[in-house]
């Protein structure tokens, strides 16, 4: 049934408003009239300052939170429908920040198999899925059967926790700062895994991140939230091509774009090679006029 959604909107959010502690004096609107959609197979980055509602929005995608007003549809079905909500978690996998805090089982393997077991799959199928998920994140399935998740290094624990979410084989993965706290190589590798899942296996990825360099190099589309509303939306080139508003709300440009901006070179660069090219072009333009330049 999901094939029908290829390239179409697998998540539709219409005029979503969410109020925390509704009906009490502490009530505070976390999301106001948000409308957006996520297309199947796209890599969407949710950005915005702390407290802008990114995580609240993400929790609506798999029914952990339900709209105070408005509607959220996943694969065409309303997330408020009770018997759909029970199965929604298989469609949309969600990893909170520092997901390794949720590890609990005796072995890494059991922890990863927890999701598939909740699906009540046959033992071999559980085994197969858990092993596959562990391999995707670069952990050895055989070793995982012997080691306690509490004996792993921080980076390994992170990957084990994410494998636990991949093992359910959800069509959409929602990831909240999955690489926070890892070293540069660990960050790059882990984000590479998700880009790969999107490009080769057609997964839909929703990445919540503060890191604009990652957003620029990974995203097909960026949605910037501010105070619970959608502030900017578009391709990285569109969003970073209009830096004024972003800088105003305390966000930064990716380094390549920021360098071009400060040098006054027209256009947007999303990657370092691209920035290099643009700077070389600017210099070439200069050489034409002043042959002795450089």
């Amino acid at each position: 049934m999901l094939e029908n959604y290829n390239g179409k909107e697998i998540i539709q959010v219409e005029s979503l408003t969410y109020v925390y502690a509704a009906g009490t004096p502490l009530a505070a609107a976390a999301l106001r009239d948000v409308s957006l959609s996520v297309k199947k197979g796209e890599f969407l980055v949710l950005a915005g300052p702390t407290g802008s509602g990114k995580s609240t929005l993400a929790q609506h995608f798999n029914g952990l939170l339900l709209p105070t007003a408005g509607i959220v549809r996943v694969a065409g079905r309303d997330t408020r429908v009770k018997n759909f909500r029970r199965r929604l978690w298989q469609l949309v996998g969600l990893a909170f920040q520092y997901p390794e805090q949720q590890l609990f089982a005796e072995t890494v393997f059991d922890d990863v198999a927890f999701g598939p077991r909740n699906l009540r799959l046959a033992a071999e199928e559980v085994e197969k899925r858990a092993a596959a998920a562990l391999e995707i994140v670069g952990l050895d399935p055989r070793e995982a059967k012997e080691r306690s998740p509490f004996a792993l290094s921080q980076g390994q624990r992170r990957r084990a926790a994410l494998a636990g979410i991949l093992a359910v084989d959800p069509a959409v993965l929602v990831l909240d700062e999955p690489a926070a706290g890892l070293d540069p190589r660990g960050r790059r590798r882990l984000l590479g895994v998700f880009k790969d899942l999107q490009q080769r296996r057609g997964k839909t990825i929703v990445l919540i991140t503060h890191d604009m360099d990652n957003a620029a190099s990974l995203a097909d589309r960026i949605v910037v939230l501010k105070e619970g509303r959608i502030f900017r939306e578009g391709t990285p080139r569109e969003v970073f091509g209009d830096p004024g508003p972003l800088l105003e709300i305390g966000l930064r440009l990716p380094v390549p774009a920021e360098i071009l901006r400060r040098l006054g070179i027209e256009g947007v660069a999303l990657t370092l090679p691209e920035a290099e090219e643009r700077i070389n072009e600017a210099a070439a333009g200069m050489r034409k006029r002043r042959p002795n330049f450089i």
Binding site: P49, T50, A151, S153, Q154, G155, A180, G181, L182, D183, P184, R185, G186, R188, H210, D211, D213, G250, L251, R252, V255, P256, E258, I259, R261, R262, L263, G264, I265, E266, L272, P273, A275, E276, I279, N280, A282, A283, G285, M286, R289, R290, I294
Partner: protein
């Protein structure tokens, strides 16, 4: 472990190490010593810290950065070798109070180092432990809150603070001990970019204007670029010790240690390879932009307003 000399039997050195402000001599540390999970964490580290310095310590996850940091104020004690702070050996229990006063620590998770129920009380916790009279504590609290820019938040419960504010509270708590040295163990790892900048600016100001010695453990190479000196740890060994510019001139070393050049230095390297006359001293985005501007500066086709 062969070759290890038990701390009790090892003669304390009278020379070099204790002449330094902080001296580390052939420091070794092993987790779960003598147990099945035994794991060498630090393997023969020797280094020194001078007063007023700003040193960044970088390395991949599990390279031993935090373990090293915890040796600098005797939260961990060497399995072999020694650490001397201001001439005091960390292995001697009677030195602990003086060492803890001299070297203050700031940890990664801002939530796990707040003790009390309000900002003010939390800052007072350290001086209270020193047994100071109330007036003196009040004075220290005032000064520390001011230095960290938290005067307005004195009576606020900590769980109402933002991540950056919590970490500034941790800095204020450290300052209330009037330390000569701040050891910061990845203080920005759990913060958003705005919070990160807030903390870095505070730390830099303390180092520059208050002459506080700053040792910054970090995974962000952009932060290491701001330091005067960088130590690179790899699997418990100190594999590099020198200025950031020297380190960034050796990208292969960084790669081997699981690290990367910060983006501006990486772009400078690429441009240099393409023939641009950029100096090796480019560490930060500001440096790179300044040099490129000087070269491109006279171009009439660049939009001068943007520069």
């Amino acid at each position: 472990m062969p070759g290890f000399i038990s701390p009790q039997n090892r003669p304390l050195r009278g020379s070099a190490v204790d002449d330094y402000y902080i001296g580390i001599d052939n420091l070794k540390y092993v987790y779960n010593r003598g147990e099945p999970g035994e794991k060498a964490a630090l393997d023969g580290i020797s280094a020194r810290v001078d007063r007023g310095e700003f040193i960044a310590v970088v390395g991949a996850n599990g390279s031993g950065k935090s373990t090293l940091a915890r040796h600098l104020n005797a939260l961990l004690l060497p399995v072999a070798g020694c650490v001397m702070v201001n001439g005091l050996d960390t292995r001697r229990p009677e030195n602990l109070p003086a060492i803890r006063r001299e070297v203050a620590m700031i940890f990664q998770n801002p939530d796990n180092q707040i003790v009390a129920a309000t900002v003010e009380e939390d800052v007072a916790f350290g001086p209270e432990n020193l047994g100071l009279p109330p007036e003196l504590i009040a004075r220290r609290v005032d000064a520390a809150l001011k230095a960290a820019g938290l005067e307005q938040l004195r009576t606020v419960p900590p769980h109402f603070l933002s991540g950056g504010q919590k970490q500034r509270l941790a800095i204020a708590c450290a300052l209330a001990m009037q330390p000569g040295c701040l050891v910061c163990d990845e203080p920005t790892a759990m913060l958003d970019p705005a919070g990160r900048e807030e903390i870095l600016n505070t730390l830099l100001r303390l180092n520059r204007s208050e002459k506080v010695t700053l040792i910054l453990i970090t995974q962000f190479m952009e932060e290491a670029a701001l330091a005067r000196k960088v130590w690179v740890l790899d699997k418990g060994r100190l594999v590099f010790l020198g200025a950031p510019a020297e380190l960034f001139a050796r990208p292969e070393l960084l790669t081997a240690c699981g690290l990367e050049l910060p983006a501006p230095a990486e772009l400078a390297r690429r441009l240099r390879a393409a023939g641009w006359p950029l100096s090796l001293e480019i560490l930060t985005l500001d440096d790179l932009v300044a040099q490129l501007r000087r070269i491109l500066g006279q171009n009439p086709f660049l939009n001068q307003n943007m520069i």
